[in-house]
């Protein structure tokens, strides 16, 4: 598949996004790996057809909350068979149509960047997924936007994949899982990837996954690991800020997925204090960390923590902005958040509109 590059034109004007909601995290859209075969060369195909490759492995434990169900909404399994989330029609009915979602960003599945060894194969599968995603999802519903999947283990090769499909008008971001056995994303290792993102007008989406560990690994129980996931998000931002990434890439914005937002005031306060104390070590950082966070980073609601209107206001006041938080549903996962219930009642309409729609449109430059 050849895609003509058209940087900085990704999708329609804001007025063309008709629904009230933008959902930036919809995943699990593949019915099975065989759908990728038409987009792969024979040398790679046989690992799916004959040798039984079943996806990226990790040392993720057997944990009851996800072991049986895969951690998904049981009602999202299509009647026609296949895993939850894999039927475009059912997803539209359960998510886009039902919740008045005018734009939804696919975040895929199988975190190819987390594969250990044989990176060429990881890259081939990521590439096939991109082509399949464009043909079978992006071009079948105008509300959908795509994430470029890469195998970041070889940044130069990943950059070529970004150049290959990143110009598609419905591709809005490059997807990177937070992979704690690799360097954090501000490390110079990733420069070819970030260079390619910038020249294709794409943003960076960081998402937790099975390759995301805490300082103590996976801990003992799923609830521990799942509770600690925001830490990897904080570390990625720490890395981006202190390595000067926001200075080097003035167009780069970053979206953190599936790690909530209540930690943002802490991170702003802590990093500003550390910067004041230790900035001599990182002279390439030109501004207070909280300023980069406010201007260049978006965080997402899912999993929405139960809070009163009063508490949400306090978090927003401590963040000193209501332009960082974007709604995300995490469909079709078990902890899906319905847009109607995500913010507490009584939130002023303009703030609600920012969280449910405008902050995401602004992040993707839609209507800018």
């Amino acid at each position: 598949m050849s895609v003509e590059a058209s940087p900085a034109v990704h999708g329609p004007a804001a007025s063309d996004v008709t629904g009230a909601v933008v959902d930036v995290d919809i995943h699990e859209n593949m019915p099975n790996l065989k759908v990728l075969l038409p987009y792969m060369e024979p040398q790679w195909q046989r690992h799916i057809t004959d040798y039984g490759w079943a996806g990226v492995r990790s040392d993720y434990p057997y944990w009851p909350p996800t072991a049986g169900t895969g951690g998904i909404r049981m009602d999202a399994h299509p009647d026609t068979g296949g895993p939850a989330g894999s039927d475009l029609g059912l997803m539209r009915a359960q998510l886009l149509d039902r919740h008045d979602i005018g734009m939804g960003v696919l975040t895929g599945q199988h975190h190819f960047s987390g594969m250990r060894g044989w990176y060429e194969f990881a890259a081939a599968v990521a590439s096939a997924y991109n082509d399949w995603q464009i043909e079978h999802w992006l071009e079948r519903d105008p509300r959908l936007r795509g994430s470029v999947q890469i195998a970041c283990q070889e940044p130069e090769a990943a950059a070529r994949e970004i150049d290959r499909v990143g110009g598609h008008p419905r591709m809005v971001q490059v997807f990177l899982p937070m992979i704690t056995h690799m360097p954090p994303v501000g490390d110079s290792f990733y420069r070819p990837v970030l260079d390619a993102m910038q020249r294709n007008g794409l943003q960076l989406a960081l998402h937790v996954g099975q390759a995301t560990k805490t300082p103590f690994g996976y801990h003992r129980y799923y609830v521990e690991w799942h509770s600690a996931l925001p830490q990897a998000g904080m570390s990625e931002l720490i890395s981006l800020i202190f390595n000067g990434t926001f200075e080097r890439y003035p167009e780069l914005n970053v979206l953190l997925l599936e790690v909530g937002f209540t930690w943002v005031p802490h991170l702003m306060s802590r990093l500003d204090q550390q910067y004041r104390e230790l900035r001599v070590e990182v002279p390439w950082v030109k501004r207070l960390p909280s300023e980069y966070l406010r201007e260049r980073v978006k965080v997402t609601t899912q999993p929405m923590e139960q809070m009163s209107l009063h508490q949400l206001h306090k978090y927003l006041e401590l963040m000193e902005t209501d332009e960082m938080i974007c709604f995300s549903s995490d469909y079709p996962h078990f902890d899906f958040d319905a847009p109607e219930r995500v913010v507490p009642a009584g939130l002023p309409e303009d703030v609600k509109r920012k969280i449910m729609r405008e902050n995401a449109l602004s992040f993707y430059g839609v209507g800018a």
Copy 2:
């Protein structure tokens, strides 16, 4: 040295603590390792006298902010020679006397629990440090309290050390570094240690150190690593809560040192939400995580983040308690916080008194 066990009597009544301030984190008190020789058997001594053992090693990087100075206050070096913090007289003059500190808790140095291999030697050095600490510091200034140092790699042996010195009336807690290459502290591995703490009426103090990593290891720059240190503290608390440690040990309270406090509202909110969603996995957890945090955990000011009175109030309101935060100076480290400047001006006197003194007294059961 033999110490008579007297559980639950650790130090004086609150009225005997005359200064306005309690400082729960004073370290680096050893002039050199040779001071430990009188407390060690010959088989261990020779590793200091002849073989040049110089302290617990880690793979901590060479980092400019700590490489030259060791990360300490240059004015804390005694005129008599020896490293900063190692002279009781100078420490008294610079810290206890100057800042009206009525009680100061020594948190030691050399994190023996972080040593890899040869745990018997680590235990011998920890044990010698305990005896030296009692004789040369605790018994020379009535304002000082001690931390039992252990080598937790062998929990049964560590428990015996806690029984040996934990009954000393000036010992108030067991010190554990946050060691991310070991299980987090709620893991059943540590039960012999926690059993011993409970029977000796001691609390648990967790402190960051060179063996504390983030999900991505050390990162590239010191400021990154140092910014991310609170994550290990969050993970330790997550582990304690979801492993049911607070239910199993009803007398156990936990103090987190050198990781600040602005992350506490986030952790409360996140853990309550995760508990509501996933509590089926951990039926031994009987209450909301935020309740354990409010009632059983103290956090500390150092390194104090710059904040307005208004912002501090917001953090306290989100925590729904003003009884979690304790003042700590981190003397003699470079980022020492002076008690006079740690809380913003205008904080109500009763709240200030809690932070500067009463919360710590309550944690140690002084005057209870």
